[in-house]
Structures are given as C-alpha cells and as structure tokens.
C-alpha cells in the first residue's frame, strides 16, 4: 500500500471503514506522522502582505500582494500571490479576469530587465549600462535644445518653446512620478507634451 496518501484520500479510506485492520497493521501513529510530513504549510502564512491597487482600469480595485521577503526592511521580495482586498469599499475583494491574473503581469516573460540600445540601422538591441543610456539621452537633449529652442517669435515676444523634442507621459504611473516628470519636461521648454488620456 502506498503510504503517500493525500489527506482527502486518507479520510476517505478511513471513513469507508476498510480498514481498521489494515491501519492497525500499519500502525496508525505512523500513518499520521507520514501524513503530517506530507501536508505543506499554508503558503501565505509566512509572507509579507502589502496593499496596492490594480494598475489597469480606473475602478482601481484594492489588492493585497503576498511576497516572500519584505522590501520595506531592505530584503529582496518576490511576489507569489495577488488577490482582491476585501476591505476595499469599491471592489470588496472582487477582481475581474485581468486583476485576478495580476501576478502574470508582474512576472511577464517580456518584462524588461536591462537598458537596451538599438543603433541606427541595426536589427537587434544590445544591452547597455544605465550610465551610458542616461548620458546618451542627456547629450541628445542638450544638443537638440541648444539647436532648436525658439527663444523669441517674429514679433520679438519671448516664447522659450522647444518643439523638436516631444514627451509622451503614461497612464499608470503615480501622481508623484507625474509631478517629477512635469517639472523636468516643462523646465526644458518642451511643448510636445501629452499623456494617454485620449486612448
């Protein structure tokens, strides 16, 4: 007899009464120990819970993320489960087919992990360091701004606008990211500034 019984199988077996004798023959205590050794601890009992909101539509359902490790204490944290937040007044724990699969977004195979650069005419990306990437961007911004900032119009009015560089902002970044982005973009004089409000 296979000792590796599932708990449900074990109960069914015991309940059917097949087996006072066979259980007795095996030694009931031994079976229980084997069963205990097999049952996994509840997966979420040792995780860190973090409150968040779904990043998709504007209902903004509350979610609870469960992670191994706690980022707040500086640990590496891996999210292993995300579910609806029953305390949230809007969704009261419910999630739609997108929200229910949020962990798949966090762990999508096509998540980006490294800055990459595609040279003119190339057919592939090459990995690049953050410092190289930001240096390239800063150089390009300064050169284009110095060359193309319109300081005055034909009537001599100071206009300080820059139209040859544009910036599209997101739809799911935080207010705090939005404000910092606003400061950086506007201080340079960029007017080709927009977000995803229309689509």
């Amino acid at each position: 007899m296979n000792i590796d019984l599932s708990r449900r199988g074990f109960l069914r077996l015991a309940g059917a009464g097949v087996a006072a004798t066979s259980l007795g023959a095996m030694g009931f205590g031994e079976a229980e120990a084997a069963e205990l050794a097999h049952v996994r601890a509840f997966k979420l009992a040792t995780t860190t819970e973090t409150r968040n909101t779904c990043p998709y539509c504007s209902v903004a359902c509350g979610v609870i993320m469960y992670s191994n490790g706690d980022v707040k204490t500086g640990e590496t944290a891996e999210i292993i489960h995300i579910e609806g937040d029953a305390d949230h007044p809007t969704n009261r724990g419910t999630l739609c087919p997108k929200g229910a699969a949020l962990k798949d977004f966090v762990k999508a195979p096509t998540r980006l992990t490294m800055p990459r650069h595609r040279a003119a005419g190339a057919s592939e990306f090459q990995e690049i360091s953050w410092d190289e990437a930001l240096t390239k961007i800063a150089r390009a911004l300064k050169d284009d701004r110095d060359a193309n900032l319109v300081q005055t119009n034909d009537a001599g009015v100071t206009v300080n606008r820059w139209t040859s560089t544009g910036f599209l902002a997101a739809s799911a970044t935080t207010n705090e990211t939005a404000w910092l982005t606003y400061k950086v973009v506007r201080s340079m004089g960029i007017v080709g500034f927009d977000n995803q409000a229309r689509v």
Binding site: F105, R118, N175, E176, G192
Partner: protein
Amino acid sequence: MTNSWTDINNTDLVIVMGGNAAEAHPCGFKWVTEAKANRGAKLIVVDPRFNRTAAVSDYYAPIRPGSDIAFLMGVIRWLIENDKVNHEYVTNFTNAPFLVKDEFGWSDGLFTGYDEEKRDFDKSSWDYKIGADGFAEVDMTLSDPRCVWNLLKAHVDVYTPEFVENICGTPKDKFLAICAMIGECSAPDKVMTSMYALGWTQHSKGAQNIRGMAMVQLILGNIGMPGGGMNALRGHSNIQGLTDIGLMSNLIPGYLSIPTERDVDWTTYMSTKGFKPLRPNQTSYWQNYPKFMVSFMKAMWGDKATAENDWAYDYLPKLDVATYDILRMFEMMKQGQVNLYFCQGFNPLLSFPNRAKLTEALSNLKMLVVMDPLATETAHFWQNHGEYNDVDSAAIQTEVLELPTTCFAEDEGALVNSGRWLQWHWAGGTPPGEAKHDTWIMAGIFQKVRQLYQEEGGVFPDPILDLNWDYADPAEPTPEELARELNGRALQPVYDPADATKVVTEAGKQLLNFSQLRDDGSTMCACWIYSGCWNENGNNMARRDNSDPSGMGVHADWSFSWPLNRRILYNRASADLQGKPWDPNRKLIEWTGERWEGVDVPDISPTAKPGEVGPYIMNPEGVSRLFTRGMMRDGPFPTHMEPFEAPIANALNPQLRGNPAARVFEGDMAQFATSEEFPLVATSYRLTEHFHYWTKHNPVNAALQPQAFVEISVELAEEKGIANGSRVRIWSKRGQIWAKAVVTRRIRPLTCDGKTIHVVGIPLHWGFMGAAKKGWGPNSLTPFVGDANVETPEFKAFLVNVEPAAEEPVA
C-alpha cells in the same frame, strides 16, 4: 466622474451609452448590479452592439456609430415637449434664463461665424447680452425669445423621433421607450446616472456627445445628486491623475493653462484670468487663479520666482498653436521636424491612428526613448516581425533606447481613480533585474542635463539651472517628498485674511488645503486641486477607514478625494433653491438656516445663502451651462455631425464632412474614404480579458483570449460568404489587417437614410510582442483626425471593407 463608483448604488436608472462598463470596468459595474438588486434600479444600454452590459440591461436599443448627438438632442426635444423637466432646477441652476446676443444663430448644420477656409468659427456672437451694470441679462420667466431655454427649444426642434430613427437607425418605438424611462427621472425623487467611456470620446465631435448627455442631466436636475451625475469611466488607472497634474501640451497642474504667444507678459496673461462674476453675489471661484498660479511657479522655481521677475514667467514656454498634442507631434515627425521623442509607459504605435503613418514618423526620429515595464511594439517599431511589422530595419536610422521601469507592484505613491479618489499604494516586490523607478530615471536624465548646462553653458539654461530640486537624495526624490509638494507648504507665515495678525500656517509647515494659498509668494503648491492630500495631519491618501455611516457610499475617511475630500461634485445642487434636499431619502447636504451641513463636504462656501449664491461656484454665472458661450470650438449647443468617414451624408447639410471645426492635416484628408469605396462602418472596443496592449504579455490572459478577431452580423457574413471562425481580411483606405471572423447576432444591420448599414466590430488588444498570438489592432485602419476640442482620435466610427481570406498555413 462627478460622483464615485460606490455612489452608483444610489441611482434609480443607469444609462450606459458610449461605453460598455460590464466588459471594461467589471468591478465598478458591480455597483449597477447592486443598485438593481437593492433599489430596483433599471439599466438602459444604447450601443451598436448587444454587448455584455446590454446582456444584463432592462432595455437595449441599437445605434449607428457616430450618431449619438442626434439621439441625445432627440431626447432633449422629447423631454421638453412632454414636460419632463425639473423646472426649478433649470430656471435657477442653469443658464436657461440668460439672454443671448441677437447675432447668434444656427442654420444648415452650422452656427454663425463659420469660415470654411480656416475650418473655424468666429465665436463673437456666441455669448450673453451684457447689461449696463456689467452683468449678463436674464429673463427668469423664460419668455424672452433670446433666452437660452427658447434657443435650445428651437435648436432641438429638428430632432424628431423620425429624424432620430433615420439618422441613428434606432427604431422609433425603442427610442420613445427610452425617452419615457429617462423622463421619469425629472421627478425630484428619481435620479438617473450616465456612465460613458471612449465610445463617446473617440469621435471628431466627442466632447459634444458628452455635452449632450450633460444637458439631459441638467434638464432632469440630476447633476449634483447622489446616484446622478456625468460619470466618465476613465480607461487607465491614473489617467485622471496625469490629466489633473496637467501632463498635456497646454496645461499647468490643476487645470491652469500654459500661456500663448498672445500673453506677452504676466500682466497680459493674468488679465485673461479675471473671472469677474457674471451675476451679482456669485462665487466665481476661479477668481483665485493668481493664488494657484503663483504657488505653482514657486513649486517649480522656488526662490528664483519672485514678484520682481513676474514669478519667472519667461521660464514657461508660450504656445503658438492650440496644442502640440500627439497627433500634431506625429504629423511633425512625419515632416521631419522632430528629432527626439520619449514614450513613458505609452505604446503609440498601437494606440494612435493610421499605423503606417506612425511607423513612417518614428523612422524620421534621430532618437526614440521608451521607458516601460514591458517590451512594447513602439520600442520595437524598427524590428521586422514578418507581416505583423513588415519593416526594413536597415533603412531605419532611428536610435532607440529601451529603459526598464518598475511596475505598480514595485512602486509607491498615489493613483487617482475615476471617482477622483487619490489612493496611496505601497511597493511589495523587488524590481526585476536592473528595472528602475520612473522617478529615478527622470531625476537621472535631469541631473545629467543640468550638469551639461553647468559645465558647457548653452541656450537659455536658466529654467533648468533654477528648477527647485531640494530633495534629500537629488538622484531619487521620494514619493513622500513629491506628494508633499503636490499638497503645498508655507514658505513664509500665512496669515488669516480676516485678521492680519493671526498666523494660520507657520513657515515650513504643510498647508491645510488650497484655501491657504496666497498670490504673494508666501506659499508653494504644485497642484492646487490636490491640496489637502498631505497636510499636517499626514498622508490623507493612505487613510483606510472604510466605514460608511450614512449608508450612501460616501466613505469620507477612505483615501482622499479631490477637491477638499469632496465625494460628489456640484453637491450643492442636490438641494433645492431653499437648500432642502430634492429627495429627503437622498440627503447629502442641507442648509440649516445658518450653514451647509451633511455627510459630504459641501461644494459651496459653508455660509453661502441658498437663493443668493448659485451652486456652480466655478462658473462666473453661478449656474451651469446649457449654452456654452464661445468655450467650445464647434458650437455652444451640440449639433448633429457625421464622422469624417460616414455611410450617409449629413442630413442637416450634405456639404459638411465630419466636424467642420476639427483640425485636419494636409494629406490626411486625401486618406478619408467615401462609402462608395468602403461601405461598412467599423468601430473598436475592449474585451474583459485584456487591458489595452499590456495583458497580451501575460500567459493567463493570452490563453483566455489568444487571438485577434472581428465581429460581424449573420447578414453581412451571408452577403460576403464568410463562415463563422474563418479568416477574413479587413481593409480601409489606410491599411489592412487579417483576423478570425466571429459571426454573431449581437450586431444587426441598421437602416439609415434608406440604406442598410453593416457594422464591423474590431477588438483592439493584439500586436506583435508578448505572449498572445500575433495580430493587428484597429489602428492600422483608423483615420488620422481628432476631436475639434481635445484631439481625441476618431476610433469609434470609420469605414472599411471585409472579404474572406485564405486560412493561415498550419505550422
């Protein structure tokens, strides 16, 4: 949304038109289900397709894509004709009694002042008569033929049920049944709510669609009411926030505006922001504009913004055109006038119209920078993916940088939901690989640019060198630091305006809310409408008390709702002229004889006397507008316009094409089709299993809806010889795509102007990156034209053709 998701529970009637909430906002739509179960509310759906929302509705009617204004003006005509009007509300809380200039008029589908060459109106006649006392003239008896109410009656006269049926394809009996259901909500104790989304906005006259329903709601007296309002269901989790903070060409945070070239100096700019009340005793809250604006300039440039230098007015760019919106930028890119372009969490290659034009435009850039958690199509626009992205990589000289960012799970901060709740969230996971927060990336770019200007000098470096950047770690400002700036703080002691010796906030302290903002430079505040979100009480956006003592879904102690934690906008109008709630069972606020009190923060000064101070405090009139003066480019009333690509001519004027005031770039007009070439009407939409172009990266969602399809009617399938599940080719004047055909009775042919009109439905979730099967979205087909007022692309009504196609070879 004027109201909140949980407030929908208070309604008697929901109309979903211009959206499909059950599919696209399922957990918010749950409150419709609750209202149906709890108080017997009814649900009306008007849509080209018998969609998922229609499947649980009490009444459904079809409509031709792009004909909503005719339907809504028809509803208004019916309400007036059948006296289903909240007269006290209309007379006292709208501009119905205001007299309009004698020169204003409307004929042949056009308002006075049209200039065909400029595609624009001279709007000078679209305004009130102003009396000798400087106030707008009114006739409270509504008998003057020039009052707004009588002009509106004349304006909607053409929209008979027969006209509606002929234009919209909505059977007359269904239209009238819906009018009757809506009409019941003119009673003070019956309330309707409108839930809409991109089904209304993505038209060349999208803003007028929404105006149309807002007017219906005002006539019924349903704006400001619990269970009422105009509820825009925003499509993305923080697009409300991004708009509030003004990340648009022409905006400053809190709906202030970037100056134009006409605003030659600070004084001129401010002279256009006077907002002098148009009637006696009115609040006209925008009179505080200078306080918001100076506080914003102090948030940007700190000590470098002074009264002497007009608060660094020269540091702000001045616009020469209305906006450098996305459509304009891609047009300029195509013309070779743009060198660098940044996409932060945005995938325009799939989300903007006429993909062939977008690819050509991106190929003209010197550098494209994409910041995203996912590998987007835009970042890979230069990469050949066979027929799904058939480009010659070697010929594309654009340098591309793809920067990995964190996603929601690894980031902290606030998102603003559709109901204006600023909800704080916390990071729970470690970012993958070298992915970084957007704040770190933006700070990194800025620090390096500033360093270059410090080292090399350059053209007008002042606004960059002087940008206020007093963060503990200049390389990565924290969400807390940034949120505190959004709230604002005192730079010098702030005094009580009523008592100049009394300090209300000491220097260095967070401001209580925007009532403490000053125009003398003593306060800084990045976004005045958010002020109160992080004051000396702490982070109010992180509040998590979900109690609801009133039982009305107010949840006043959950997060923070702008403005001032107010949950329902215009809630003063939920009470009558004496300040008594229209419906005693929906008591939100009331006038006690001395002040306004209730379960929500009153949307009026607490001591403003009812009957004296109007409820619409942001408007100089003190009332809402059935007639919008010269504030919209395409007319002070909504008028029927066809889409730029339409199956029939405009019944009001066959010479008109699309919205006569919409901007069209040269070259795009030639790419608009006629119904002779392309006889089928197409429209785009979402599916519940997917979010835009993100979830196709998720294995679970990719398995739930793996492959692109289009929906066509049984009748069209028979006509074209298309079998259910077979492959079809769909093409427009701008491109072609292939997809599986779903032959369904959810879409039925309509009859308009004597013609049979077939509708093709195109879900939008597929591309060439991610886990799902590769495919195309509707944007390969759609026209490059936007709404006349806000440039939202016309995705919801355009022309295509369909034919059977060979099946794909089995791999």
